[in-house]
């Protein structure tokens, strides 16, 4: 009891240096927790870039290359998928939905994606969230464009603005098709995925940019029975979806297409069929699986982050040890006085280790507070700029374990000066003057 009181009063008396130590610990706890949370959430966000899509189909290439080009807009798919193959596969049994996408064009460095209106209803990210409109709605005419939130804010576009889309991926392109301006009809909410950095235009408009119109029809050289059937199916619905068919058009090629199935069983079966498709070398990937593979390639980043957190903690604990030992020298007299009024060596030991435990405990608590503060402030920034959706929740079991380890380490480090205090002899302190 008296020891607690003494520890408290003594800490209060040295509050400047104690506060410094406390904040060193607090800040390193905050850093550790933040780095840890960002590491976990970056992983989650990364694997949440696309969800609800069972298969992505493109021309035959590497799994990761297809994922990068179709989802992350990184790299360029050299080959495409022929329109006939797309239509044939999309009509298979069990296919719930399919969305054709065409990439390869850009506007001021931002990717342009040609697609159907289904994109806005079936595309999912994060925890199966759908795309939602911040302003406006999906395109209804060939000369309309829907912007990702980043594109709109970065380039300062608002609804009704006319923009020109160029051919190719470069920022500066030789072909500016001034005659084909697009009107901004919708702006999407931020998703923290590459969708934010994309301009969405009707699939048919891609062909218009390139100058060719309905060239696909001329290139039809194979008309087997299946194709005929598909055409028939389409013709049946032609009246109702006139406008939408116009938006899709009949391109000769698309970059890739996304598919959703009624049951996971179809996914595996159709994936196998696509990969063995005779007429065209195609590749179907399951995005969740490929995302995991990709993350494993990035595991080194994760390890470096972990290493950083570890070093941060180590430095702060060493800082605490330094401060404690330096303080101890100044406190030699104080401890000797306590000995002279009857305190036993073990009581001094308890006193010193209690103080370091208390400092570490308070440091951890303040660190947790700072951590939540930082997360609250930066979560929207991380979401919109780094694409990491930060999950502000109770500390996980793992995070609590980390804090436990820090406290244990703080306590053990506190035992070093406590042991020294134990061996300070009485006469040593009594002979110190002033």
């Amino acid at each position: 009891m008296i020891l607690t009181k003494l520890a408290y009063k003594s800490l209060l008396n040295r509050r400047a240096s104690v506060l410094l130590t406390l904040f060193t610990i607090a800040i390193s706890v905050m850093l550790l927790l933040s780095i840890e949370r960002i590491r976990v959430d970056a992983k989650t966000s990364f694997s949440n870039t696309i969800s609800g899509t069972d298969l992505i189909v493109g021309a035959r290439t590497g799994d990761i290359q297809l994922l990068l080009s179709s989802v992350f807009r990184i790299g360029y798919a050299n080959n495409g998928v022929s329109w006939q193959s797309y239509q044939y596969i999309a009509a298979q049994r069990g296919v719930k939905w399919s969305i054709p996408i065409s990439l390869g064009d850009s506007h001021k460095g931002q990717a342009v994606l040609g697609t159907s209106r289904d994109y806005f209803t079936h595309y999912r990210f994060g925890k199966k969230q759908t795309l939602s409109f911040q302003q406006g709605h999906a395109f209804e005419h060939l000369n309309q464009v829907v912007l990702g939130s980043d594109v709109a804010s970065r380039l300062g576009y608002t609804l009704g603005d006319n923009i020109v889309i160029s051919h190719g991926m470069g920022n500066t392109s030789f072909h500016h098709h001034k005659d084909n301006p697009f009107t901004v009809i919708g702006i999407l909410n931020a998703t923290g995925t590459p969708v934010d950095k994309t301009l969405h235009i009707p699939l048919a408009a891609i062909d218009l940019i390139h100058g060719g119109s309905h060239s696909a029809n001329n290139e039809h050289d194979e008309h087997d029975e299946h194709d005929e059937h598909d055409e028939h199916d389409e013709h049946d619905e032609h009246d109702e979806h006139d406008e939408h068919n116009n938006l899709i058009g009949e391109p000769s090629q698309i970059t890739a297409f996304l598919m959703g199935f009624d049951s996971p069983l179809y996914t595996l079966q159709i994936r196998r069929n696509i990969n063995q498709y005779k007429k065209e070398p195609l590749l179907a990937i399951m995005p969740t699986v490929t995302l995991k593979e990709l993350w494993q390639m990035l595991a080194i980043v994760e390890k470096v982050l972990l290493l950083f957190s570890g070093v941060v903690i180590l430095v702060s604990l060493l800082g605490m040890l330094t401060t404690l030992l330096a303080n101890l020298n100044q406190r030699r007299r104080e401890l000797a006085i306590l000995r002279s009024v009857g305190a036993r060596p073990w009581q001094l030991f308890t006193l010193i280790s209690m103080e370091s435990l208390f400092t570490t405990l308070l440091g951890c608590l303040v660190g947790c507070g700072l951590y939540y503060g930082v997360m609250l402030i930066s979560s929207s920034y991380l979401q919109s700029h780094a694409g990491i959706s930060v999950n502000i929740a109770m500390l996980s079991y793992y995070e609590l374990t980390l804090i436990g380890v820090i406290m244990a380490a703080g306590f053990i480090i506190g035992l070093i000066p406590a042991t020294r205090a134990y061996f300070y002899s009485l006469s040593d302190g009594m002979s110190i003057k002033t």
């Binding site: 008296i2 003594s10 104080e334 002279s340 009024v341 009857g342 009485l426």
Partner: protein, 232 residues
């Protein structure tokens, strides 16, 4: 009360001459002893031996019929805390405690001191706090200072706090190591009288050490450390 026989003390085993060499010394219970001698004659060394901080290189020290040589370190710690009040030359107060907290500190580490302190106060009700207030007031520190910051007190005031801390719980032996060296003559005598009063009340033996022989007449017995060692 205090019996020393053939006590020698060397700081290091290989020292040729002992720092202290006392063939015999007897102090009776309740005596107020003035122990004097010039600097360097071994006053502080003797006090450290009496308080059980150091042990003699040879010879016997008996205090309260306990042979200090036979006690372990821990036992000496307990013995000191229970039976000896020590007033340091530099007071040794804890700067972050109030005067009252400084005074009661010793009782927090010794049950018997605490019990005796509680017996000393009857009014308004027995508590360490009240005993500390009584002692501080009796030793001349007015109540307005009792809860102030120790560091803000003057030297004279700090000294009264240090004395009250030594007296609380009525230890059998009070050792005062040049506590008046920072005071002027008038204050010195006044302070020593207050010490006597409390020593009488607590029935304590007082060993007062100083190099200032002008204080000698105030005490009922004076011992010269120089002549003590010349008995050889």
């Amino acid at each position: 009360m205090i019996e020393l026989d053939n006590v020698t003390f060397k700081w290091h085993k290989n020292d040729a001459k002992p720092t202290l060499n006392i063939p015999t010394l007897r102090i009776d219970k309740g005596e107020h002893i003035f122990l004097h001698g010039p600097s360097g004659v071994g006053k502080s060394t003797l006090l450290a031996l009496l308080a059980g901080i150091n042990t003699p290189s040879s010879g016997n020290i008996r205090i309260l019929n306990r042979d200090l040589n036979t006690l372990s370190n821990t036992q000496r710690d307990v013995f000191r805390a229970e039976n000896i009040g020590y007033i340091f030359q530099n007071f040794n107060l804890l700067p972050y405690l109030t005067p009252i907290e400084n005074v009661t500190l010793g009782c927090e580490f010794s049950k018997s001191r605490k019990q005796k302190a509680l017996q000393q106060t009857a009014e308004p009700k027995p508590s360490l706090q009240n005993e500390a207030i009584r002692l501080l007031t009796a030793l001349g520190l007015s109540e307005s200072y009792h809860s102030k910051d120790v560091a803000s007190l003057s030297i004279g005031q700090q000294q009264r706090v240090a004395a009250a801390r030594a007296f609380i719980g009525s230890p059998e032996l009070i050792i005062a190591d040049e506590p008046t060296s920072a005071l002027d003559t008038a204050n010195r005598e006044n302070f020593i009288k207050l010490l006597f009063e409390q020593a009488k009340r607590a029935n304590s033996t007082l060993v007062f050490v100083s190099h200032d022989e002008t204080l000698k007449p105030l005490f009922n017995r004076a011992i010269s450390l120089v002549s003590l060692q010349e008995q050889l």
